[in-house]
């Protein structure tokens, strides 16, 4: 209670029951806490609500939460400080998060960011003195086919230009609402529906079973009410579908493990964290096929014996919240969700949406579960696997958006039908997110088994230097490998293909950005992932600056092997940008290193002296030479 008059009545002071009056903020937090029934495991939701309400998470709110939830403040800050979109200081009435991914940079981000800085009068990472505008960088926001893009108070702005940037700042200063600042018409498909209204485009260039228009809500659930859960799993196993998030674990097997777990309370999660830079297919599926996705969750819930499903959605896609909640309402009305689904007694299942708050590592299933429990997204040790001990220690299945949609088609048309699509080892179709240097970037649903050459023909990519398959954690391949095929046994991918033209500076423009990305996104738990990513990035920088020697290349190769000691997928693959280019584009490195030198510390006298020289207004010959 601040600035309140001191109560003089001694009777009141002596009476211990009388609590000090709550401040406005405490009232607000109380209401939020009541909404989540004071449940500690819902800390993410609680913090998101506080952040959305205030633009930041005030220290007073943390103290109050600590008191009400009986957790220490340092523990709450452990969660707050982990996530990119949480902040303990105000981030401006208008917060601009400009995507800093490699592809955004290749599409002219720099000029846009410069304009933002110039017009707002501040640099990125800060807020204007009047608290009006905050400028911040953010990792890939899933708009790679319409970059440069930014999130402004949660609304998406795509295809930004310096002109648009200055317009936006002008509109902010004029006090316009974010929605009033859109200039183009809303995007295609549901992007222009009343529940989304976003200037975002789907760019669906090729449709298959998942993206086809021939879907009627309930078509899969109608089938399963006639089947036993075991039969549903059997059908999925016949289809031989594997996880579409990137890891490629057989879905039927995962479900079976979970179904066989002793504990009767089980959960199904849909992983919609889609953080791999260059991936945006789940965004399009969530926009166009929410009924299908939720139906897939119902089917999965039925198969594994779960009563509750949770859609873990990345914060970047918060603009889809109303749309998805509306879809949930609709299918509840159709009796496809809720109690006694389609009249089947005891078939109860419902879904809620859980938001993340900006952390790539939460796409890893056990980190996702930790996050959903209100903690920092640190991947767990395995065993035990989530199917044995997952969310709230209960057996849990985590499936990707696309996997769950494919399941609906498998149930409708049969596992045998699905098996005939794709290749023997990799059945079915894959929804690809294709971006950057090609004529038709966007979403393509193709059968597994396409070669990279086929893809390039399809999307209009010529004069290609490299293709980054599977995002930064995947591999960067050269033209001599373009005959390789997309499938689990050759080029496995979660769906991101970044096409890099010959005119690009691969190492400086792309690989360095990817390394910075992993450094930012590492949870910091495993020693090699926390430290070695930085050392490898520094080596790469040294080479790009022309200070590298042969030994640096050898070191990078040797040190890269240490990354296998890490726990999770992020740590295991975080050196891949360097390791795969070192393998496939060795010449780029060889051309940069000094061949007449065996050793170079990388120390630059001119750089080290620059600041001091500037301050003392002196010029030294070493500086002039540069």
């Amino acid at each position: 209670m601040r600035n309140a008059p001191i109560i003089q009545d001694s009777a009141m002071i002596e009476s211990p029951e009388i609590m000090p009056a709550k401040s406005k903020l405490q009232h607000e937090v109380s209401t939020i806490l009541e909404h989540y029934q004071h449940d500690k495991t819902r800390l993410m939701d609680i913090l998101i609500d506080i952040q959305d309400e205030n633009g930041y998470i005030p220290a007073e709110a943390i103290d109050y939460l600590s008191h009400e939830l009986n957790i220490s403040t340092v523990d709450i800050r452990q969660t707050v400080s982990f996530y990119h979109f949480f902040s303990e200081t105000p981030r401006g009435k208008y917060t601009i998060y400009l995507n800093d991914s490699a592809v955004a940079n290749m599409n002219g981000r720099k000029a846009v960011s410069k304009t933002f800085e110039k017009e707002a009068g501040i640099s990125f990472g800060s807020v204007t003195e009047d608290g009006l505008i905050g400028l911040f960088n953010t990792s890939c926001i899933g708009m790679n086919d319409q970059e440069p893009a930014a999130l402004i108070n949660g609304a998406v702005f795509t295809r930004l230009t310096p002109f648009r940037a200055s317009e936006i700042i002008r509109d902010i200063r004029a006090g316009k609402q974010v929605e009033e600042m859109f200039v183009a018409s809303y995007g295609d498909g549901n992007n222009s529906s009343e529940f989304i209204k976003a200037v975002v485009n789907n760019h669906i260039m090729k449709r298959g079973p998942v993206l086809s228009d021939q879907f009627k809500p309930g078509e899969g659930i109608k089938e399963i009410v006639k089947m036993s859960p075991e039969d549903v799993i059997k059908e999925v196993k016949i289809s031989n579908i594997r996880g579409r998030g990137g890891a490629g674990f057989p879905t039927g097997l995962k479900w079976e493990f979970c179904r066989n777990a002793a504990d009767q309370t089980r959960y199904i999660f849909c992983n919609a964290d889609e953080g791999e830079p260059g991936t945006f297919k789940d965004r399009v599926i969530l926009t166009e096929k929410p009924f299908m996705l939720f139906e897939g969750m119902v089917i999965a819930g039925y198969a594994i014996g779960a009563k509750e499903g949770i859609l873990y959605l990345r914060y970047e896609y918060k603009y889809l919240k109303k749309h998805l909640e509306n879809a949930l309402q609709k299918i509840r009305k159709l009796k496809l969700l809720g109690k006694n689904i389609l009249g089947k007694k005891g078939f109860n299942f419902d879904i809620r949406i859980q938001f993340g708050a900006g952390a790539y590592v939460c796409g890893e299933e056990s980190a996702l579960i930790e996050s959903a429990e209100g903690k920092r997204g640190e991947p767990r040790d395995r065993p035990p696997f989530p199917v044995e001990k997952g969310y709230l220690e209960k057996p849990t299945v985590v499936n990707n958006v696309e996997t769950l949609c494919s399941i609906v088609k498998i149930i409708k048309n049969g596992g045998e039908w699905y098996k005939n699509l794709g290749t023997k080892e990799s059945t079915g179709t894959k929804v690809l997110s294709i971006s950057c240097d090609c004529r038709y970037p966007g979403i393509y649903e193709v059968e597994w088994g396409f070669s990279v050459n086929d893809i390039l023909d399809m999307v209009g990519g010529d004069d290609v230097q490299a293709v980054q398959v599977g995002g930064p954690s995947g591999s960067c391949i050269a033209p001599n490998e373009f005959n390789r095929t997309l499938c689990y046994t050759d080029l496995a991918t979660g769906g991101s293909l970044i096409i890099i033209g010959n005119h690009r500076d691969l190492l400086k423009g792309i690989i360095l950005n990817f390394m910075d990305f992993f450094i930012d996104e590492s949870c910091g738990s495993c020693t090699p992932c926390r430290i070695l990513t930085v050392l490898l990035r520094d080596k790469l920088k040294k080479i790009i600056e022309g200070r590298g020697v042969m030994q640096d290349l050898e070191d990078m190769e040797d040190w890269g092997k240490i990354m296998k000691a890490n726990r999770c997928g992020l740590g295991l693959t975080a050196a891949n940008p360097i390791l795969t280019t070192l393998k496939n584009f060795k010449n780029l490195y060889l051309n940069k290193i000094q061949i007449n030198k065996d050793y170079d510390t990388g120390f630059r006298l001119d750089e080290a002296l620059r600041e001091g020289m500037k301050a003392s207004n002196r010029k030294v010959s070493v500086l002039e030479n540069k």
């Binding site: 403040t73 400080s81 930012d520 090699p528 430290i531 930085v534």
Partner: protein, 234 residues
């Protein structure tokens, strides 16, 4: 009685119990698998990664992996020895570990491991980060220069209501272990001492306790780390 399981460690037939972690089973069979973040009796975390072994060919952390019947475990291969050495070198170069001035010298597990692995000059360059020393707490001093982020204090030290006194802050290479100011003010003597003792390095120090134990009489002054596990069967 727990079910007895058979396993092979570096070619030697061994026996252990169901639900026993590999590190413990190995120790009972006279094999030392180096660990740093692990504390016997506390739920393991697998943070430091130096106990990585190959289980049936696959890399797994020995401290977190329960024994299974018929496991074939490789521990002392050249590959794994170098992997562990590299990780210890990474820790040594990440922080500011200046042993001669450190109160924990001789009782420090990181230092003892560095000796055991014959580390003279690390292959990585020193980072020399700028880090703080928190000396505002009444019973504890937190020296961030020496913290290796093993998470031992976070996992073990709780107040009587089960609240965390230590917790991580931030992520990636900016990660730190922070102390709750309020709870640290009320920390029991027992908890403060435990925090000091479980810290494998000199990152958590007990006030007014410096150099109580003279150098020369400290845990690793005369014997290498892990020797007690290996001694009985040799």
């Amino acid at each position: 009685m727990n079910q007895i399981l058979k396993f092979k460690l570096d070619g030697v037939e061994c026996m252990g119990y169901k639900d026993q972690y590999i590190t413990n089973a190995a120790a009972e069979n006279g094999f030392y698998i180096p660990t740093l973040c692990n504390i016997p009796g506390v739920k393991p975390r697998g943070a430091c990664r130096i106990c990585n072994v190959r289980v049936n060919g696959k890399l797994m952390t020995a401290c977190t992996t329960p024994l299974a019947n018929g496991m074939v475990i490789e521990c002392q291969t050249e590959e794994l020895k170098d992997l562990r050495k590299a990780i210890i070198e990474l820790m040594l170069t990440e922080g500011n570990h200046f042993c001669p001035s450190c109160e924990k010298s001789g009782n420090c597990e990181l230092q003892a491991l560095a000796y055991r692995f014959n580390i003279t000059v690390p292959r990585f360059k020193y980072q020399f980060p700028e880090r703080d020393i928190e000396a505002s707490h009444p019973k504890l001093i937190k020296d961030h220069n020496r913290c290796i982020l093993c998470k031992r204090c976070i996992r073990v030290i709780k107040d009587e209501q089960g609240r965390n006194i230590f917790a991580f802050g931030k992520r990636g290479n900016r990660i730190t272990i922070n102390i709750d100011t309020e709870l640290a003010n009320d920390i029991s003597d027992e908890n403060a001492r435990m925090a000091y003792e479980i810290c494998p390095v000199g990152a958590i120090l007990l006030r007014e306790n410096a150099f109580r134990e003279p150098i020369g009489k400290r845990k690793f002054d005369h014997v290498p780390i892990g020797i007690e596990m290996e001694r009985f069967h040799k």
